[in-house]
Homo-oligomer: 456 residues x 2
């Protein structure tokens, strides 16, 4: 109890602890540093490595690389793994990876260069190495990569007592398991019983009489995003993975599915904002520029389309200069409207709330909502513009342009991601730029076009 | 096995099934409809209710409300619960809520009006009603609301055999449990053992000798976002909830934490885009307008600040009309740069990757990255502008304004959410509008100001 209470106090990164660690690195107290790191959860040690600066990280690795275990490596963000692994003494690395389950080793290996992959594979025992190499045979981001190969499976005719005796005599069991799987003679899973049901049933009860209703299986080739969706939708805790006509090859547990769900939500948010999905807080300025500049350059060119549209109306602007001041209002409000519709649609596609069953209705709803939003904004902006500039025609032009642009915005915000999805692309990818380019161009075109017709 | 295989084929919403259901509603075949719905997982029935139109939903409820069980109600999005509950016959509602665990009843009640809350509370058995009312005493969005009150806890000195006998003789056990909790005589949890460890240990083994290292407890008042973070960070499967000096009051399981994590990621994305967090695909146009128009109106006024800034330079624009065409490029690219920095920062705050330990370093990185991005864009835009308009001064003005605005964008993108977070507010809230207003105003000001100085 004393131990667990101490652990409680150390949740997350305590600023005082971080200060003490930085101090120990500064003055080179390896013993103190190791002591401090040893009290922390591996996930927090990984966060610490990510959050301290590059020079402090170098100092930490020089003084205390030996205390970093496999769990720290597998918690680290991808960009830092190579750096940390290179700093580990060979024996420390070998010990670290041997302590991991095979699914975590696979996760660790995926993004490393060939030399480091080789070093880690060599460090494994032969049977684990074989399992890891098999897992790497599945496509990246598939259920086969995510699953653990250690499974608890028994013949379908067994009783609670037989299963319990089997578990008690098993040499090694997975770190985590929540079900006992029942398999037929060809190793195809036919159902599972929760450990809770097994524990609370008498020894003579047949496992097949206490199976869960919710049983389902996952194909090894299923994309990990779909796996995460299944876990969240059907409240699964663990799920068998099958291949080649239903043969059991592994099990996925909910904590891995939760990590995938969390990652995918973050990626959608970053992609929508036009940032590379590998962005990390530990990136330096150059890595940050690499993640962002390409998208800014794309936007530079799409923004030039708006500039070209405006330049066609320079004659009108020369006659009424105040048009130049108010025209960005129409474009900017259109951009916000488009972003709203887009964010809702991308999120709904990710959560499978926007499907073929309701796409037509949602598109109609967006059109009507865009019209209503446009009307509301047109009244405010139209009256405001007419009063401030003392010209009712400017009010009418502003109002009409606003209505047109809000309809375009709401429609574009749902159609762009739907179209990308149907084309098999990521609906978040590039859709922000598509939609704001659309609303900018339409905003300037509608406003300046109407102004040219009605005011000159 | 036949059953489970059939269930496999019905994952998610099969378009043919949806079509058959709509057809059955159309022609009023209650029996067929009930049959089709009965084969579906409750989560999929809820999705169906959300995705079909309002009139089809009305038809479905008229024909088959009786087959909707409690699980369907608790899977439904909040906006539709009142509508569906109102359509249920009183006895069907009572049966539905009685089949739920208390944590699901609490989740169901939270957003209902007082009359419906009363109806549901009445339908519960006295002990459950008491438990639900107690849970509603905790703050909304707290661990106390999220937890289930059904726990499996035994004295700390018990053996595996004693715990097993206790479970076998228990009248009712929670639907899901993954640990046996050990409590001291004052009902304070002191550790837990996984069911897997218990099942695989001999009857004479003491539970305290097979406890998990990772044990921690959660205060009943902890915000649910922090709970989700703890589960994801420390790979928890279930965690005891305590109150008043550590007394056990309930347990939170990972599936609830996963649902919270998923919701919060979605909310951040919607808030960043300026959409109310209650937006749902089943909303009609009016509900959609209500979620979005307020934010558009705010943006209308902030956009007017840019218009005001531009209007101060009408003299300059009157002299060189082409400035009006190119000035939105600087503003728009600034908006993208700001949005990139903002999305990365908001996400990092949500995942606790941006903390006091690295805030200063990240702000410095953003400033340098903004400068470098600005330099890169300035070269392209400056040369392009100078060549197209045949005026090197325009190129210089465009380039300088771009550099200034990219630095402002990157800095604002990280400072605005950091400041909101320090002030105890949601860092995603309103920060998009803050940042784009900043980059619009700075973009126009820098560009037109420099142009006035250098070109007139």
């Amino acid at each position: 109890m004393a131990d667990s209470q101490a652990e409680q106090d150390e949740e997350g990164l305590d600023p005082r602890r971080v200060a003490a660690i930085l101090q120990a690195i500064e003055v080179g107290q390896a013993g103190v540093l190791r002591g401090l790191l040893g009290q922390m959860h591996p996930a927090d040690v990984a966060d610490l490595l990510e959050q301290i600066g590059p020079s402090a990280r170098e100092g930490l690795l020089a003084l205390a690389a030996g205390v970093l275990d496999g769990a720290v490596l597998s918690e680290l963000e991808e960009g830092l793994r190579e750096e940390v692994i290179s700093a580990l003494p060979r024996e420390a690395l070998a010990a670290a990876v041997r302590s991991l389950d095979t699914d975590d080793v696979v996760d660790l290996l995926e993004d490393l260069g060939a030399p480091q992959q080789g070093m880690i594979l060599e460090a494994l025992e032969a049977s684990d190495r074989f399992a890891v190499e098999q897992a790497l045979g599945y496509p990246e981001g598939s259920a086969g990569r995510l699953m653990q190969r250690e499974v608890v499976a028994v013949p379908e005719h067994w009783t609670v007592g037989e299963a319990t005796d089997h578990l008690r005599s098993a040499k090694s069991l997975p770190d985590q398991f929540y079900h006992v799987l029942l398999v037929d003679p060809r190793m195809r899973p036919v159902g599972y019983a929760t450990l809770g049901r097994i524990l609370s049933s008498g020894r003579e009860v047949r496992l097949r009489d206490i199976l869960e209703d919710s049983f389902r299986t996952i194909e090894a080739t299923m994309p990990e995003g779909d796996v995460a969706y299944l876990f969240n939708q059907y409240h699964l805790i663990s799920c068998p993975v099958v291949q080649n006509g239903g043969r059991l090859v592994g099990v996925i547990t909910i904590d891995d599915a939760m990590a995938v769900l969390d990652e995918e939500a973050g990626e959608d948010m970053l992609l929508l904002a036009g940032v590379g999905e590998d962005s990390a807080m530990s990136d330096g300025p150059l890595a940050t520029v690499k993640q962002r500049l390409p998208w800014l350059v794309v936007n530079l060119f799409t923004a030039s389309i708006s500039a070209f549209v405006i330049s066609r109306f320079e004659g009108t602007i020369a006659m009424i200069v105040s048009l130049a001041a108010v025209m960005p209002i129409v474009a900017s409000t259109g951009g916000i409207g488009g972003t709203q519709s887009l964010a809702v649609s991308v999120r709904a596609l990710a959560t499978r709330d926007l499907t073929r069953a309701n796409a037509a209705r949602v598109v109609r709803r967006e059109l009507v909502a865009g019209l209503l939003n446009g009307l509301g904004l047109a009244v405010i902006l139209g009256i405001g513009g007419a009063v401030i500039y003392g010209d009712y025609r400017l009010g009418v032009v502003l109002g009409l342009a606003m209505i047109v642009n809000q309809i375009v915005a709401a429609f574009g915000g749902v159609m762009v991601p739907l179209t990308l999805e149907r084309a098999g692309l990521d609906p978040a990818l590039a859709s922000g730029t598509f939609v704001t380019t659309l609303t900018d161009v339409m905003g300037y075109l509608a406003f300046l076009g109407l102004a040219t017709v009605m005011m000159t």
